[in-house]
């Protein structure tokens, strides 16, 4: 599973992208957030306030209960500020 980070989420995690293999009990986006938080102090800081973070799965916005498959591309980022 490929995980991407943008904006201050990337800065806190410390990498823009990483390949991860979460255990089978990580079934959805919310579960992935909990599992990633345990990987490093940087991950923990990035996901400390989960309410401030948005997600996309395979390049589409995704809710916390979105189911995940091993081949998915998952991205985490703050609310968007374009235009």
């Amino acid at each position: 599973m490929q995980v991407l980070y943008f904006a201050w989420v990337r800065q806190k995690v410390g990498v823009a992208e990483e390949r991860v293999s979460p255990p089978p009990e990580v079934a959805d986006v919310a579960g992935l957030v909990r599992w990633l938080s345990g990987r490093s102090a940087g991950h923990a800081a990035a996901f400390e306030n989960a309410g401030a973070i948005r997600a996309a799965v395979n390049q589409e916005f995704a809710a916390p209960d979105r189911r995940l498959s091993p081949g998915d591309e998952v991205a985490f980022f703050p609310p968007v500020t374009g235009g």
Binding site: A50, R54, P79, V80, G82
Partner: protein, 164 residues
């Protein structure tokens, strides 16, 4: 009206500046059925001592999301043309950031779809802005409730996700 086939939107995400006149001409050249072309150019403002904006996007998803909303605009309004160009990278105050152009036989369709697209770009397009100030401070821009309200006027179920 050009008929029932919706226009194919032109969408670009790029570091380079864009050319308003050339993009506008591209929507009207050789056509005699365009009644109006509406445009909006968003620029970088020098608020509070801002020295530059750094714009980040999600390559792939950003283009796809803009193409999706532009296609929606073309299905909601009878547009003969639609162009969205959004810049990324480091932009200084006064520089143009985003261009929306819509063409239609009818002025109302052009004006409304242009406002719809820019309201959505502010709230639904995967871009993130970091402000760099003259005194060296940096700050990620936070999403604004005002922008959410502007986008909500269009009463569409956007794909923007709830908190993760």
């Amino acid at each position: 009206m050009t008929g029932a086939v919706p226009a194919t939107p032109r969408v670009r995400v790029q570091e380079a500046p864009f050319d308003l006149a050339a993009e506008s001409t591209a929507l009207t050249a050789g056509r005699e059925n365009v009644g109006g072309v509406a445009s909006f150019v968003g620029l970088c403002r020098a608020d509070d001592g801002l020295a530059a904006l750094a714009l980040e996007h999600y390559p792939g998803m950003t283009e796809r999301a803009i193409a999706g909303i532009a296609a929606e605009a073309c299905s909601r309004w009878p547009l003969s043309g639609c162009t969205v160009i959004h810049r990324v990278g480091r932009l200084r105050p006064g520089e143009p950031i985003v261009l929306v152009l819509t063409a239609s036989a009818h002025r109302g369709a052009a004006l409304e779809s242009c406002a719809f697209l820019i309201d959505w770009l502010k709230t639904g397009a995967p871009f993130w802005k970091r402000e760099e100030f003259a005194d060296g401070r940096e700050r990620w821009v936070e999403a604004k409730a005002d922008d959410d309200r502007a986008a909500a006027r269009w009463a569409r179920a956007t794909g923007e996700a709830p908190a993760a």
